[in-house]
């Protein structure tokens, strides 16, 4: 009995009690978006779940203006009878314009410190956060927050996206020698929002974007377990004929297209010296589709085909790398790799950036066709 009293006291006297948060009294936010107005004021838009069955919509959106995210929140609280809580927050949207001019790290810092916000929530970029959240086309999902969450989650699960949650963003942001990326959500009138490429960051500001498919070149070197997604390569017919692959019986169409399904891959950043870097990767693929249809049986022609595909991929990769260098952003993390070598570990962020624009990068992607004629 004495022990039980002591136990009760130890909890009660130390006020070890969670604050009461009864579910129907909470304004449960699922998505929050920030837009940039002039004069350092921001507009925050939030989607709250509402549980009244008589209402048609299961969510309400609120907007407020303020200079800090907490002030916005304060003003949002004025507009509702519920307590606004962020325990179920799944996505934070940022205005593209804002991300390009002001930067988003100041917002993320306060999010990261909020214990009720999971560090696994998604971040995304959109043209106008308010309009995106107010978009009423969200397929069969109950409200916009869960729709965008599902959209991003699906793409992350299928590894079409480079990881884009708060934790990943903060890590890549503060780590020297690698720059973060975030998905861009496209919002058009009358249709549900969709993913439209990946934004490239230099520090916390957007400098450019690449398409979703082209992220495969980034994933090749950053995440060894990612699912690359099918690769479609276009090869000029002339090229094929030049290599003496006449047995393919090609038609006259001017280019030949192959879709490949990667089975496994291995990427390696090889540092020759701080000015010269090899990006080596081998991808094992199975062929899914040929346009126009052909059958490749000959081992020799398969070899040649592998070479051709490899060349095509390298060519495109070289082009992308050139663009990355122009934007001076390093999502692949070449700088990090350079710095990981003992004798270059003294290099600072500034050194690496300077170095990066002059860096010679040699892409070297090799393709192995492991299987053909696979039945899915």
């Amino acid at each position: 009995m004495k022990k039980i009293v002591i136990l009760l006291c130890s909890l009660l006297c130390t006020a070890c009690m969670a604050p009461e948060k009864i579910i129907e009294m909470q304004g449960i936010s699922t998505i929050i978006g920030f837009d940039f107005l002039d004069d350092n004021t921001f507009k925050g838009t939030i989607s709250l779940l509402q549980f009244d069955r008589k209402e048609e919509n299961t969510s309400v959106t609120l907007s407020a203006e303020g200079t800090t995210s907490k002030q916005i929140r304060q003003k949002l609280e004025e507009q509702t009878s519920h307590d606004i809580t962020s325990g179920q927050l799944r996505t934070i949207l940022f205005n593209k314009n804002m991300a390009a001019t002001v930067g988003i790290s100041s917002f993320l810092d306060t999010m990261q410190r909020d214990s009720s916000i999971s560090s696994l929530i998604f971040l995304a970029i959109t043209d106008n956060a308010e309009e995106t959240i107010n978009n009423t086309n969200y397929e069969e999902y109950p409200e916009m927050g869960s729709y965008i969450y599902q959209l991003l989650d699906k793409h992350e699960k299928k590894e079409m996206l480079v990881n884009s949650n708060l934790h990943d963003f903060i890590t890549t942001l503060y780590e020297i020698g690698i720059d973060p990326t975030l998905p861009i959500i496209n919002n058009a009138n009358g249709v549900a929002p969709s993913i439209d490429g990946v934004a490239l960051f230099k520090e916390d500001k957007i400098v450019g974007s690449i398409s979703l498919i082209n992220t495969l070149y980034i994933k090749l070197f950053t995440n060894n377990k990612a699912f690359l997604g099918d690769i479609t390569v276009e090869i000029a017919t002339e090229e094929l004929e030049k290599r003496g692959m006449a047995e393919l019986n090609l038609s006259k169409s001017d280019s030949y297209k192959i879709t490949l399904h990667p089975i496994k891959y291995k990427g390696n950043i090889e540092i020759k010296n701080p000015e010269f870097v090899h990006l080596n990767a081998t991808i094992s693929v199975s062929t899914l589709e040929f346009q126009p249809s052909t059958s490749v049986k000959n081992k020799d022609s398969l070899k040649k085909m592998e070479q051709l595909i490899g060349e095509a991929l390298n060519k495109e990769f070289r082009y992308i790398l050139e663009e990355l260098k122009n934007l001076n952003t390093d999502p692949i993390g070449i700088g990090r790799k350079i710095r990981s070598i003992r004798k270059y570990s003294h290099l600072t962020e500034g050194d690496l950036r300077q170095n990066y624009s002059a860096l010679k990068i040699k892409p070297n992607i090799q393709v192995e066709i492991k299987r053909t004629g696979l039945v899915d």
């Binding site: 969670a18 009864i22 779940l49 549980f51 069955r53 299961t58 179920q88 109950p142 869960s146």
Partner: protein, 493 residues
């Protein structure tokens, strides 16, 4: 007449009459045969008249005169049970048990013969513990027939049924049933000592005795198995446990019990191993669910909505939106309602009981949701909890789970999930400290007996059970076929 016997402890009719408060049932039949006067004193309603007429009165009257004396009659009267050398107390209690008192006036000697006619129920199907497979027979209120059932099914000369008498006013016969070369001696001695030390005026039923014998009286959990199934009783005894019968109770006590033995049913042995294992695990899962599910609902609704998966959130939120009570009150209300229904259902005659189900299930369930007093999610959870508690094969364990649920719900309402953790801690500490007949209650898990896990948590095919479970500390833990041979040899001897 009474004068002559004043110094004797034998009683005359007058004396008996005064002791028995002039009971109108007391009858004295005075026989005058030859020179001998014999009084036959008995209680009218308690004897079987045919026996008294045929084997006592008629027998005496047909005897020739030279045999009409105490010694001859005592030796030759055609009745199985007689008592001689009587004490006053014994004469009275025997009379009240349906014996007839034969008093030889001239010789000043007496003996009593058994003419009892006890009221007995016939042996029927088990009601509270019903099985799909297996024997349907159940114990009755008569100790004699209960022992008979056991003897009939367990023909072993080592089966002991030790008799102890308890109760000061209402003396009751208690039989301790065990197999001498299996049951652990220390456990047996503990049990006997406890029974002998009982100072009770009366013990009405075996369930009362079980409560008196418990190691920890304040525990919520039962520490003895109460069963009305002979096959369960025999199975337990064969595994080294000890059984107790008490006269007048159709329920037998089995001990020592451990926590998991309350979740095993003899049906587990009759069914195939795959199904039995599955069912056993389901029972344990149901028990855990029954204990904690409502509490988890209360905790998440009050403190931790972050834990709800986003797809469930809207459904749960909508069902909660119109409810005027906080989740704790809502849950307690519904849990009490279910308990009320169960209690009403148990008290009502079985024909009305069906109506009760309809009233409870449809009217109250549906109406409370439609009136917006409770959420339908909670109805599902509470119904599951009720089902879970009833799935324990031993009714007492089910009741314990039902009671233990309430403090955990309150803890959850006060401290959220932290409260549930506190509840679990207290529960585990209690389970670890609890003993049954000085044997650990949480036995095969703590202290860990890997070999015993197959007896209590799961069930394997029968050829795995070559030993008796070690938690009961049987004297002889091996059951091999060679041993069976030896026993038959001995029997022939």
């Amino acid at each position: 007449m009474t004068k002559r016997h004043n110094n004797d402890n034998l009683l005359g009719y007058e004396k008996i009459k005064s002791i028995l408060n002039e009971s109108p049932d007391l009858i004295c039949r005075k026989l005058e045969v030859g020179q001998e006067g014999i009084h036959i004193i008995f209680m009218k309603n308690l004897i079987k008249p045919e026996i008294l007429n045929e084997y006592v009165i008629k027998y005496i009257e047909e005897l020739s005169v030279e045999y009409l004396h105490y010694t001859y009659l005592m030796k030759n009267i055609p009745i199985d049970e007689i008592k001689v050398n009587l004490e006053e107390q014994e004469i009275i209690s025997s009379l009240l048990n349906g014996f007839a008192y034969l008093y030889f006036l001239d010789e000043k000697k007496a003996f009593i013969v058994n003419c009892a006619n006890p009221i007995e129920r016939s042996i029927e199907k088990a009601e509270t513990e019903s099985l799909v497979y297996g024997p349907k027979i159940s114990f009755t209120e008569s100790l004699t027939s209960n022992v008979k059932i056991i003897r009939q099914n367990l023909n072993d000369y080592n089966l002991c049924t030790d008799e102890i008498k308890i109760g000061e006013r209402l003396q009751k016969q208690v039989r301790i049933v065990y197999i001498k070369d299996i049951a652990n001696h220390d456990t047996l001695q503990t049990l006997k000592d406890r029974i002998k030390q009982l100072k009770m005026e009366d013990i009405i039923d075996s369930s009362v005795l079980a409560q008196c014998l418990e190691d920890k009286h304040y525990s919520l959990l039962p520490q003895f198995i109460l069963t009305e199934l002979p096959d369960r009783f025999i199975y337990s005894i064969l595994n080294g446990r000890i059984g107790i019968f008490i006269d007048g109770s159709p329920v037998a006590i089995i001990g020592p019990a451990n926590f998991f033995s309350f979740f095993e049913s003899t049906e587990d042995i009759y069914l195939r191993w795959s199904l039995s294992t599955f069912i056993r695990l389901i029972r344990l899962f149901a028990m855990v669910g029954s204990l904690f599910l409502t509490a988890i609902y209360v905790a998440t609704m009050t403190y931790h909505f972050e834990l709800i998966p986003s797809k469930l959130l809207i459904i749960i939120g909508q069902s909660r939106s119109q409810i005027p009570f906080p989740p704790l009150l809502e849950a307690l209300l519904l849990e009490l309602l279910i308990e009320l229904l169960r209690e009403a259902g148990a008290r009502l005659p079985s024909k009305v009981g069906q109506t009760m189900g309809i009233v409870g299930g449809i009217v109250i369930g549906q109406a409370t949701v439609e009136a917006g007093l409770t959420s339908n999610i909670l109805i599902i959870i509470v119904a599951f909890s009720a089902l879970g508690a009833f799935s324990a094969p031993i009714y007492e364990m089910g009741t314990a789970v039902r009671i233990a649920r309430f403090p955990i719900i309150i803890l959850a309402g006060v401290w959220g999930l932290n409260g549930i953790i506190v509840g679990i801690c207290i529960l585990i500490v209690h389970l670890l400290r609890l003993t049954s007949l000085n044997k650990p209650y949480l036995a095969p898990l703590y202290p860990l007996r890997m070999k015993d896990l197959k007896y209590f948590l799961i069930r394997l095919p029968h050829h795995f059970y070559m030993r008796r479970p070690l938690v009961n500390r049987p004297k002889d833990s091996i059951r091999l076929k060679e041993r069976l041979k030896n026993i038959t040899d001995l029997d022939e001897f």
